[in-house]
Symmetry: C2
Subunit: 630 residues, 2 copies
């Protein structure tokens, strides 16, 4: 359903020059008013933005969130939010008053770094070198999943080009031929110090981007005609390459006072501010809007096309299935029922499964290679377009992406991460391959969901729920095959737990998840031989955590509780249990917390569970100590 | 004190070819015997290694750890440990029996991935793309701190070149002109799948490395003469550039069975193994050693040149000093007394201080730019050469380096990390700049030390101890100025705590660290007005944690305890307290845990501490709730 745009009044270059001056003036006004922030990183890029928004950025400002063909604009450059907000004033979506009075204020939506509480911001930026990787995810969606013509524009600062994440992004962008991704580098040599060679020349930047597969256009970032021509050429595309516009700029551009200033990181004092604004021609209140997109999509892609049929999987109770393979089965099944489910994978993890998924859903499978930051950033980008990304790799290597996960948490992005190779259960591959801090890492992310199932049935139920879950959710899986514990169809609500073993008069509570749940169940048999009855809790939902069941169990077992986890003792299941128990139990609690306290070795799973003291014997002995203690 | 090397018997190419065959055979034997691991990634690089160790790698194998001029060899390529261990057999430092019987076995020193329990291994590898960044740290020490002629050789696999950390490393290597760093890329197209374009051609690799400032030499990795010539040229140096040897190889090279094999990740079954070994000419037990280094250094650099004088700093009790600036003062002072203290810094953090440090200790200050993985990896590399690196940046951005920190923990590397911009205390800069998960992240690192001082005096004492601390240690600092609480010279042992306020009959215990300690002290005054006496604990050492003082305090205050932390509730101070309390208190504990539970906004520090519910009023109210509860 194509609709024609109304004829456009393209602003002339003089108007755009005035607009650029306004953007500079407003960047000075907002920072001086806030008493923090720095206008200089905004002033260098003002000409670039003025041309972009008045002539090339296709956006229906009146229907921001309801126009699927709108271009995207990502402010990756740290510290340039004054320019972004000045632009919002110029297109008329915020008032001058809000711009000047609210910037960086408590409770305001004009935060120091852009936040998606603003309807025109896709995700939080502010961590250097992260806007581009996430923009890659959006461009990937447009080009390979949605087949829409929107472009993804990214403003980068030059100082963030030292981040490795930038190169993971460019390599992915060129591999996937993201010609809809246009990165504008504001090269003002404005990195916050004149340190040893950190400021490269444009030639070096150009070589690097070209070597990573981009088409590079170099411009004088203050020559409006040149910038206009470059952006027009960029929109034309180059051999399916991502495009990088390297703009040589001057950091305090427009103010003779500031162009030579080497102080930075702070707003201008009021006197300097007034003088600079005068030199820039004073306050202006131009309103300029560029073209609207040619509408092609009927509506924003909806989150779900859920078929209410239950998943087709069934597991028999005598099967030995790893939760990693159950996750794979569940994802294949889910993707068959929900058209927005996308698999993202980093090198190595599970080639057989990836091939199988790619064979069935070839368009919805992306391989990122050994590039964990890009793996997670792609998920964040896809979530902006309402896809349901599952990003999976070895859990230990997700630590590489911790900052990207942190920013996804701040953004409130709905992404699903799946980490295999959890804990010493990994066995022979040794400590570098064993995730032993992933639960701590994920629990401390804003609003995160942390799941750790023990069998195939619960894994399937949890994967199903992750698809509907908002925010960052994490599934920890196990490589080894373990028995199916639950009947098909059992509900495993996020925030719940299971009690697979209990009697009316148990002596001790055993809590496990993943491999340690199986060890708790085995320990209960050893204990039964000694006349000790154990209640066993499956803590499959580590965050949110089912404190109520734990508290009841502890009260009914004389305050005795053993927690066993295949993870370091800090920040994991054990401390989640302790936090839950602070809400009050009737009994005085006595807890034994079994966890991985030393560097593991290579070995067999059984050797390592035993040496680490988290196996059935260790659990049984801990329970005995508690029972003997009373 | 130069000593002449004895004349060398340089092995001829036929001997080296035999050696390469032996390395391949032994890689097959060890993996087949272990029943896990894969010989193929080793076989492709066998010719490269055979030439390297017999002709170019300068190493005194009889005095491995006592020869400061020894070259370094870093196996960055994941999965190539069979080749490394086969090489150790070939130079005669491990037996054939150990090689075949111990590889990947429980408790063995021949772990799946190289570990520094072996005297010839500098740090743990196994996480893709990390060996090179850490090698950069060693090369930096050799070139800029020690002025020694040792070379740092790195074997990389091509699949790890997608990691951004590789490019952070190359950029640092070229900026610091590390011509003593020679990276050999084994390009066998052996990435574990034939996915969409992951396997680049050598041309692309060459362009990328050249764009990042390396001198690139391309070779056929199976032509011994060519490889020999390339390594010789590499040793000659090229315009102070780091050198990259791109070796085209074949992954199962040497066995017609394996060259075409596309299975991978697994050892050969015994039948195939026997056949491949036969084709390679059977088992061999050659011993070949290359040249020893020309000795120039008198001894390995010692850890310390400690001058017993106490630090020269003094703080008066009415000063308002940030712990960040107290850290800077302490480091400047420390560096004046200990010649091995080195400052590493990432862009942005604290330019004034960095300039001051660089002005005083110009050779011991390195700027890594926005490249946090490289920041920490450089520290790991420097620690190999017995330097005392302090790597400081904004704490939130240290999350970017979490995998590098994890590997440092596994290596047992002694590195010191300092993170500023902790928590909502940061104020106007907003959530992307606020570290709210750093304590969880650092606590869960193997054997880590986590410190969080509240005033200048304690900061100084802790920095002093960090210099002597083994393993990964982390100091969390605050930006705002706060009163000096302690007298100069007060001891702050790691693992201890302080009780700045107590009486003989307190009603409640308040626990804080950093900014919340000041809030606890202020809360105690509010409480005193209501007749409630509070004991206040300064938990400056979060790991190891002083559980004993907490338990005594809780027992003496009727089980009532308030913990306030400027961090997410998961994995931080509060859970450290809970873990400490599991060891048993006489009283039933009632705890109020105040922490940052939502996404903060921009704002002033006071607005944010209040909105988050961790300020003096919130602490006072929590204490009242506990007191009222009984």
């Amino acid at each position: 359903m194509k609709t024609e745009n109304p004829p456009l009044l393209i602003p002339d270059l003089q108007t755009i020059a005035d607009l650029a001056a306004q953007l500079r003036v407003d960047s000075i006004r907002s920072t001086t008013s806030a008493g923090s922030g720095d206008p200089l990183p905004s002033m260098s890029a003002a000409d670039l933005l003025a041309i972009l928004i008045s002539r090339h950025f296709r956006y229906d400002w009146d229907r921001a969130t309801r126009t699927p063909d709108n271009d995207h604009l990502i402010f990756s450059k740290p510290g340039a939010s004054p320019l972004l907000y000045a632009m919002y004033k110029a297109v008329g979506v915020i008032s001058d008053n809000e711009l000047v009075q609210d910037y960086r204020r408590f409770g305001s939506r004009l935060q120091a770094h852009p936040m998606p509480i603003l309807p025109w911001v896709d995700f939080a930026t502010g961590s250097p070198g992260q806007g581009l990787p996430e923009a890659v995810g959006i461009a990937l969606a447009g080009k390979h999943l949605e087949n829409l013509a929107y472009r993804v524009w990214v403003l980068c600062g030059e100082s963030e080009l030292t981040e490795g994440s930038v190169w993971e992004a460019m390599e992915t962008a060129s591999r996937y031929q993201l010609s809809n991704l246009i990165t504008i580098v504001d090269a003002s040599q404005a990195s916050q110090r004149d340190s040893k060679g950190l400021d490269f020349d444009l030639e070096t930047y150009a070589k690097r981007f070209e070597a990573f597969g981009a088409h590079v256009i170099r411009v004088n970032g203050h020559d409006l005609e040149e910038v206009d021509a470059a952006l027009a050429r960029a929109c034309g595309g180059f051999e399916s390459k991502p495009i990088v516009i390297l703009a040589q700029t001057i950091k305090g551009r427009g103010s003779s006072l500031l162009e030579l200033d080497d102080s930075q990181g702070n707003p201008l004092p009021p006197g300097t501010s007034r003088q600079a604004i005068r030199e820039l021609g004073g306050e202006r209140h131009l309103m300029v809007r560029g073209p609207k997109p040619t509408q092609r999509a009927a509506s924003v892609i909806q989150d779900t096309e859920l078929d209410d049929d239950a998943p087709a999987l069934t597991y028999t109770s005598d099967a030995q299935i790893s939760t990693q393979s159950a996750y794979q089965d569940a994802l294949l099944d889910l993707a068959g029922r929900r058209a927005n489910v996308v698999l993202l994978d980093a090198e190595v993890a599970h080639p057989t499964f990836d091939h199988k998924f790619a064979a069935t859903f070839s368009k919805r499978s992306f391989e990122l290679g050994f590039a964990e930051q890009q793996l997670v950033a792609t998920a964040t980008g896809l979530s902006v377009r309402n896809f349901i990304p599952f990003a999976s790799t070895s859990a230990a290597f997700l630590t590489r992406a911790y900052d990207v996960i942190r920013m996804a948490g701040i953004s409130g992005a709905s992404i699903r991460l799946v980490g295999s190779h959890a804990g010493v259960e990994v066995g022979a591959d040794g400590p570098s391959q064993m995730a032993l801090e992933d639960i701590a890492m994920m629990r401390s992310i804003n609003d995160a969901t942390v799941l750790y199932p023990s069998d195939a049935v619960s894994t399937q139920a949890l994967v199903e729920q992750m698809a509907n879950r908002t925010g960052v959710s994490y599934l920890r899986t196990t490589l080894g095959g373990y028995p199916v514990l639950y009947e098909q169809g059992t509900a495993f609500p996020i925030g719940g737990s299971k009690v697979p073993l209990s009697s009316s008069n148990d002596h001790v509570t055993l809590v496990g998840a993943g491999v340690t749940l199986h060890e708790c169940l085995a320990a209960s048999k050893l204990l039964a031989e000694m006349g000790i009855r154990a209640m066993v809790i499956d803590a499959y939902s580590i965050r949110p955590f089912d404190g109520s069941t734990i508290r009841k169990a502890v009260d009914s077992t004389y305050g005795r509780i053993v927690v066993a986890e295949d993870h370091h003792p800090e920040g994991g299941l054990g401390e989640a249990v302790l936090t839950a128990l602070t809400e009050g139990t009737k009994s005085k609690v006595r807890i034994e917390h079994l966890a991985v306290r030393d560097i593991p070795s290579s070995g067999t799973t059984r050797q390592l569970l035993s040496a680490t003291g988290i196996d059935r014997e260790a659990i049984s002995q801990a329970a005995q100590r508690l029972v003997d203690g009373h």
